[in-house]
Amino acid sequence: MHVIEADKRKIRSVAILGSGVMGSQLACHYANIGLKVFLLDILPFDLKEGEKEKIQARNRVGNTALKAALKSNPSPVYTKDVARRITVGNMEDNMSWLSKVDWIIEAVVENLGIKNEVFEKAELHRKPGTLVTSNTSGIPITMMLNGRSDDFQAHFCGTHFFNPPRYLPLLEIIPTEKTHPEVVNFLMHYGDLFLGKQTVLCKDTPAFIANRIGVFSIMAIFHLMAEMDMTIEEVDAVTGPVSGRPKSATFRTCDLVGIDTLVKVANGVAQNCPNDEARELFTIPDFLDKMVENKWLGDKTRQGFYKKSRDASGKRVIEALDLQTFEYKPKTKPRFESIGTARQSDVLKKRLKILAKGSDKAARFIQALNLKVFAYASNRIPEIAGQLYQIDEAMKAGFGWELGPFEAWDVLGVSRILETMEAKGEKPADWVVEMVENGVEQFYKTENGARYYYNITTKSYEVLPGSEENIVLDNYRSNKLVWGNKGASLHDIGDGVLCLEFHTKMNAIGSEILLGINKAIDVAEQDGWKGVVIGNDAANFSAGANLAMMLMLAIEQEYDELNIAINYFQKTVMRLRYSSVPVVMAPHGMTLGGGCEMSLHADSTVAAAETYIGLVEFGAGLIPGGGGTKEFVVRTSDGFYEGDPQLPSLQERFTTIATAKVATSGFEAFEIGVLHEDKDEVVLNKKRLISSAKEKVLELDQEGYVMPVKRDDILVLGRTALGTLYAGIEAFGVSNFATEHDQKIARKLAFVMAGGDLSQPTRVSEQYLLDLEREAFLSLLGERKTLERIQHILKTGKPLRN
């Protein structure tokens, strides 16, 4: 039997069996990355007599599911046209399609009998060498091998995605003894590079890694809160972002996941892990049983631990379940001194240390929980994972924890915690005690930009897989900075490439970052570096320019100062393009307003798939004043071919800005004209973003980078365009789609994009347009309604239509 080597295997098409929530979303995600997808489900139960021959009717289950998925929020597809790559069929008529695909994914109901039937049917059509994987979360992968051929077994593996699969990065890879190593290698690598996931190798044990530890944590929380007499609001207050967990903390997460699911997983462990030393904790507490009985299952039944309702006056309120009385009461906001003090710090490590020293109930709770989770995690190696870093990766990627249990243990002091464990009767694994006795104080260490973990088998530090290829800026913190100020740091990321990292609140672009950009390019040009990457690992790349500062200056009517500030912004943005070294931007997450304007100007933009990018200044009562409007005019002008109608092109660009359009993925950014096919690209896996951007710099340098020449040949349409655009704005106003102020802003935008009131189409320079932009921007800052819009965004984060 020949198994293709991992690096030679190619995937062109995929078949997904089962169109449930996960199946239909998986179909979308595989289509997202460019594959042809076949989505099959069973025939509908209610197939009427007359429909029995109709293909549409026979495929109804899959069609309905796919339609629902495409309508769901947040969207599982990067762009609308992704859906066209998916073909729906059914498991009666279309199993023969399986012979044409490279990978079959099983995502049917969690019933071993049914799964085995499906595999039996699939095997009839499967070509040898085709991958078969299961998305099961609860059934041992090994049990699905029964009755299957050798070739099937060699190519069979568990691939456990997390819901929603576009967004949650974790992909657990669970091989059996029979899975061929080349298949495992392939899946680990493909999931990382092509699917953009954090792949983690797991042992075939109940709940694998993330759910095993995650559900343990939840059960431990139930246990501790009963012991310490805490309410669910109090628990959520301390198990949220303050201690590095997501906003949904504990109980909101339970509601999201589904309480029935939680019970199922917990029971699965309790029944199937007889040797788990903490088995007792997986016993379902009474209140949980009661909730399942009452069908209070969480979001799927609209009530769980929390419930949304309306109070007497009709206002929306959130109610929380009181576990003592089993009644819903308005949600309270508990105050704890330790949390208050901790929250004063922006740095998670500091917050964890503050909580570890606190003495109020919340602090003691999290201290006790940590001891339990750390001990439990340590005892699960090698049972559920071979090495400790796998557990950390799984918890971060699957449950959104900022730090994995071993990373957090490092922060709090490994030996210190060991002592506390001993005092409190928690038993950690022997290997940890041994590790410390041998003088190893930490699970991880960082050296020269690479991260190392303590390998339990070799009892020494090994390189963390991926840490050398992927650039994680945190690993560079101990190195000497090339330069830095309060808002930005310049790192040497090797091979002659610099990386400028922003670190202000929301990475808003103010004077410090602007100075940083100029400085980074200066240094690169003067000291012979190959180029600059502008990227960071924060939650968002940049939320835009420092609006607060602009608002204050505008209130003081300091127009001179504002003019200087905007001019500086424009000059800096232009510098990104007009420099003698390549500058590559690596946006991800929110990249709005000024952040987007920078991406427009970079020599290349390497965007993460999950990038929300756009020119949103309209929502703040402004037009893009940092070169964004100008750049859209340039791109329009450059896009004209001889004989093309020019106006519609300009109108489309105008509308993109006037409606503050934001692309919801890196791919969609091409569609709205923010990313350009000629020079930009998208990276699926966010971990690879900065290293990909670095590669781009090296590529541009290799090709022989030449500083572009400043443009003075930009075609602007003048009055011809103005007339049409103004008329369009008027129409919008009359039909009440635009307020007075919307129209005012739009007219200013039109004026700039038309190049001013020129009597005929003319060729102008970039500076000409930048000056028009700046003028419009300043004049809008003198309008009260614009100031109100800015104020609203700063306060609520949402745009105001006044």
Binding site: Q344, M552, L553, R784
Partner: protein
């Protein structure tokens, strides 16, 4: 208004007490004291200053003023005092402030010398000593400072060891006022190494010796000596208060002492202005009295403005303390306990007044010397002495630097303890900075609408700077002395400016706008200058720890909160000076 609350709350004019409202009794006390000083002290100031030749002058004068009841005025009647209320005591202090070295001797005796026994003495101790202290028969002295412990008072090395029925004291005290003639010494020593404790030591106790009189820059008439304790044995009963609780005595009497100092210097200011204007009216140059010249008018007016402001602040605080005393008495405290607690409540305000008063007096006497020109430099004229005597006020009773840091430090402490809610107003300021103002005209129907708005805004500037500093440094803020000094200056300026405005507002209510014309100008001028100082201090403070955009935004905020329409301060000062010149004294 709670202690320190002025920073977040605006007091009403009706709430303050103003000197214009002094009752008959208070007016009588004032004139009685003034008479004594003008007849017995002023003619003899030069002689008093020759202390070595005339060591008995001050003790004798103390006896005389004691007989008038002045020394015991504030003591409870059951101990031989007159039990006057706090505002009356303030009036007395003001007048005594005109008596140079004598005034210091009185203050040391009645304040730090007597109050420890009044507040912390046992019933026996009080009955034994207070009556004598009240009449001046017994004179008191306070021994805290040592060669190696001044501001760092608790680092004192003098030791007290219990030996059977007696305490044995060993050590050395320095800069002790009234030491040359005191009958009672309040001494602070360490028990068991670090338990700071108070004791009463009587004159003549074996082992207690005095050093020579210090030769000082000023207050030469005041007895200032080192006091040596060599195995001085005192009865067990002479323990004052509790072992290890001596700091409570020390800090609490200092609160009152600081307030009194503020009141006293006012008297000094008024006297100096009187002397200066009289000279200016008589001295002719270029064919006219120099009081005709703008440069001199400016000085006279500024001297008066600062005096008026200090005056307003003094009586505002006196009233706060006085009301608090009544409140505590009504709740069952004894008068002594009430006074102690009331001063503690307003320790921030007392510290502010000490700084304000001492620095105002220094300015006034300095310009008085200048007005006197060459003759100001001659000891034949009184201003040289006043100039020298004034200087000590910035040093003792806690240096002005210590008092500044104390004022801000106590405010922060109260905020931490939850007694003063600085967080909520500070948060509101953040919101306000992002708020779009009306750009419209203010409704200025009210006389002081613009001024009160400016004062309210100045408080925001302080909260902005202080809040940002607290957030940046947290507990470490107490080590950032420069920033604390800037914040203190801002707080002192805003408190004083507000006091002047409130007093004037009340006065207008009593006497009408026309009659208060010049007071209005004085309050406005003070405020106008204060806002600029607050702006500058705020800038220096925030630039000391913030950078980049964060700094710019704070600077914009501070500027916005200290804006005030420019006024013609030159014309204002001329009008004020003209009134002083016409009255030939401080007329306000």
């Amino acid at each position: 208004m709670k202690g320190g609350e002025f920073i977040i709350k605006n007091q009403e004019a009706n709430d303050v007490f103003i000197p214009e409202e002094l009752n008959e009794e208070q007016v009588m006390f004032r004139s009685m004291t003034l008479d004594f000083i003008e007849s017995k002290i002023w003619p003899n100031v030069a002689k008093i200053d020759k202390q070595l030749e005339n060591p008995d002058m001050i003790p004798d004068l103390l006896n005389e003023i004691g007989q008038l009841g002045i020394l015991g005025a504030g003591l409870p009647e059951e101990y031989g005092g007159m039990g006057v209320n706090f505002n009356t005591e303030t009036v007395l202090s003001e007048e005594l402030g005109k008596s140079l070295s004598f005034g210091v001797a009185v203050a040391a005796h009645t304040g730090i010398g007597t109050l420890p026994i009044l507040y912390f003495g046992t019933e026996e101790q009080k009955e034994k000593y207070l009556p004598g202290l009240s009449t001046g028969e017994l004179k008191a002295s306070y021994c805290l400072t040592e060669p190696n412990s001044g501001s760092d008072a608790l680092a004192a090395k003098t030791k007290a060891v219990l030996d059977g029925d007696e305490w044995v004291l060993n050590g050395q005290k320095m800069w002790i006022t009234n030491a040359g003639f005191a009958d009672l010494y309040i001494v602070f020593a360490q028990v068991d190494g670090d338990k700071f404790t108070g004791f009463v030591v009587e004159r003549g106790t074996p082992g207690l010796t005095l050093g020579d009189e210090e030769v000082k820059l000023g207050i030469k008439g005041s007895s200032t000596r080192q006091v040596f304790f060599e195995n001085v044995r005192i009865p067990k009963d002479n323990l004052l208060g509790e072992i290890g609780k001596g700091h409570r005595i020390a800090f609490n009497v200092l609160n009152i002492g600081r307030f009194k100092l503020g009141a006293m210097v006012m008297g000094g200011c008024k006297k100096a202005i009187e002397i200066a204007v009289q000279y200016a009216n008589e001295r002719h140059q270029f064919g006219q009295p120099i009081s005709n010249f703008g440069a001199i008018k400016h000085k006279l007016a500024e001297m008066a403005i600062r005096t008026y402001a200090t005056d307003s602040a003094t009586y505002r605080i006196a009233d706060l303390i006085s009301d608090k005393i009544e409140e505590l008495k009504a709740a069952g405290a004894t008068k002594a306990e009430a006074k102690l607690k009331a001063a503690e409540e307003y320790n921030i305000e007392c510290a502010i007044l000490k700084v304000l008063g001492s620095e105002s007096l220094d300015y006034v006497v300095d310009e008085a010397v200048q007005i006197f020109g060459g003759t100001g430099y001659s000891e034949e004229y009184p201003v040289a002495r006043m100039y020298r005597d004034s200087r000590i006020n910035r040093i003792f009773e806690g240096t002005n630097e210590i008092n500044r840091m104390l004022a801000v430090g106590q405010m922060m402490k109260k905020a931490m303890k939850g007694e003063l809610d600085l967080m909520t107003p500070a948060m509101k300021i953040q919101e306000e900075l992002m708020a779009i103002p009306d750009f419209g005209e203010d409704d200025d129907a009210d006389l002081f609408f613009a001024e009160k708005k400016a004062i309210g805004n100045a408080k925001k500037a302080i909260l902005l700077a202080a809040g940002a500093a607290a957030q940046k440094f947290m507990m470490e803020l107490e080590n950032q002395q420069e920033i604390l000094m800037n914040l203190a200056d801002m707080a002192i300026d805003v408190f004083t400016a507000e006091s002047a405005i409130l007093r004037t507002e009340k006065m207008v209510g009593l006497k009408g706008e026309e009659a208060s014309k010049l007071q209005i100008l004085m309050a406005q001028t003070y405020l106008s200058d204060a806002l600029e100082r607050i702006h500058m201090a705020g800038k220096h403070a925030v630039a000391g720890f913030a950078e980049g955009d964060e700094l710019r935004m704070m600077l914009i905020g501070i500027r916005r909160f200290t804006k005030f329409d420019p006024m013609n301060t030159i014309a204002a000062r001329q009008a004020i000076a003209d009134q002083i010149i016409e009255s030939n004294k401080y007329p306000f």
